[in-house]
């Protein structure tokens, strides 16, 4: 049992390492995410910076904008993990060599590290550029971490579904809406609470439940999606 788990973990780690090695050689996802995030960040801060909105309105609106920036930046780069495998025809070799669950977790770990790196870059810049004060920084960091996990898990699953389809861009948007909408509602509410210094309440439990549900659902669904 231990040996099986060890082999599985080694497979997932190999997928994660391979994706990052390829990414460092091409920098496609990193450049795409960073460019999109930085561009929208500048637009938002210029339009709704400290002079553009009242503090009360800002505390209500700015968390929404933060998560929209993260969502669309993630959507620009995360689906590529599986789509690229199909486009370059490496997916056949992966189907023959990899355990589906290990492959999914390796890809999820890669997507998660991308999202967390994006948040590490975007969140502090956002707070500084719009002069948004966060009264509960611990809750804010927790929301970013758990929300980023949900974003990565949902995007990885959707990417696996759309990778073999035509019209991927449209399909991603169509599938992302029902999957990621609950996540967005929760993280926006929690971010507002963090800004206001209010307690997390049930929303944090719901967010963690969402993360667990999407991950488990992805692990169950992925083998069916991956191997026709």
């Amino acid at each position: 049992m231990w040996r099986l788990a060890s082999n599985w973990a080694a497979e997932a780690l190999a997928v994660f390492a391979k994706d990052w090695r390829c990414e460092f050689r091409t920098r496609y996802a990193l450049n795409t995410l960073a460019l999109f995030a930085f561009t929208t960040l500048v637009v938002v801060s210029a339009s709704l910076g400290p002079l553009g909105t009242s503090a009360a309105r800002g505390a209500s609106v700015l968390p929404v904008l933060l998560w929209l920036i993260l969502l669309f930046a993630g959507a620009a780069g995360l689906p590529r993990s599986f789509v690229h495998e199909e486009e370059t025809h490496t997916a056949t070799a992966l189907r023959l060599a990899a355990t589906p669950s290990a492959l999914f977790c390796g890809k999820l770990a890669y997507g998660l590290s991308l999202v967390w790196a994006l948040e590490l870059l975007v969140a502090p810049l956002f707070l500084a550029m719009v002069s948004l004060a966060v009264r509960s920084p611990g809750l804010f960091v927790l929301v970013l971490a758990a929300g980023g996990f949900g974003l990565a898990a949902g995007s990885t699953l959707i990417a696996a579904i759309i990778a073999q389809a035509q019209g991927r861009s449209t399909l991603f948007a169509v599938l992302a809406f029902p999957v990621l909408l609950p996540l967005l509602i929760l993280v926006v509410e929690l971010t507002r609470n963090a800004v206001a210094g209010a307690p997390a309440g049930m929303a944090l439990h719901q967010l963690l439940l969402y993360d667990g549900t999407v991950t488990i659902f992805g692990l169950m669904l992925f083998p069916v999606v991956w191997n026709p």
Partner: protein, 205 residues
């Protein structure tokens, strides 16, 4: 029945309205090869993909046994070694990095890629994207044999190979069959001179 064999009966597969395979049957046992021939579009590659577990047949049965135990499609996928034109590698990685990655997935010995690369004469430090078509075909052979599979599925196995490349890959195939536990299904062989041929299956007739 040998401890390792492959049997398929009544295998059919359609793509939309196009019936590519219609009731194909065959079998091959350890130490033997099955040659699959036929015109373009007769379903040779489709048959191999079904045998590999990459495609589910619409009807029919595929039974692959190793050490007396029947393998399901997922197990077949993990255990087969396959050489096919649509198998590609990561162009951003070197040959050695590609094989190290797949060796970890296949749980092959870490030194196995280097052994095979030396055998087929491929440089490990060359980027996979910089390989010629013949070198890619040699790499496919190395990839297929990384985990010492019992069942080899070979689709156009000698395509793009020069004479030395064809010689060494034929040697690898002969060694695989001569070991006693390996079996092979070969589609589109450039030459039908393959020893230990148990049967020939003509598709599209």
């Amino acid at each position: 029945m040998s401890p390792t064999d492959l049997r398929f009966s009544g295998v059919s597969r359609r793509f939309g309205h196009l019936a590519v395979l219609a009731g194909v049957s065959g079998e091959v046992s350890a130490g033997q090869a099955l040659l699959v021939t036929g015109a373009n579009g007769s379903g040779k590659s489709t048959l191999l993909r079904c045998l590999a577990g990459l495609l589910a047949p619409d009807s029919g049965e595929i039974e692959c046994r190793e050490e007396g135990r029947s393998l399901d499609a997922a197990e077949r996928r993990r255990r087969v070694g396959m050489v096919a034109p649509d198998i590609a590698f990561y162009e951003e990685l070197t040959v050695a990095e590609n094989l190290a990655f797949f060796a970890r997935l296949r749980r092959a010995r870490p030194e196995r890629p280097a052994e095979l690369l030396e055998r087929v004469g491929l440089p490990g430090d060359r980027m996979a994207g910089a390989l010629s078509s013949g070198m890619r075909q040699r790499l496919r052979w190395v990839w297929a044999l990384l985990h010492r599979p019992r069942l080899l599925l070979l689709d156009e196995p000698f395509q793009n190979l020069d004479r030395p490349g064809e010689t060494v890959t034929r040697e690898l195939l002969e060694e695989h069959l001569a070991a006693g536990e390996g079996l092979a299904v070969i589609a589109n062989p450039s030459s039908l001179e393959v020893s230990r041929v148990a049967a020939r299956l003509e598709l599209g007739g």
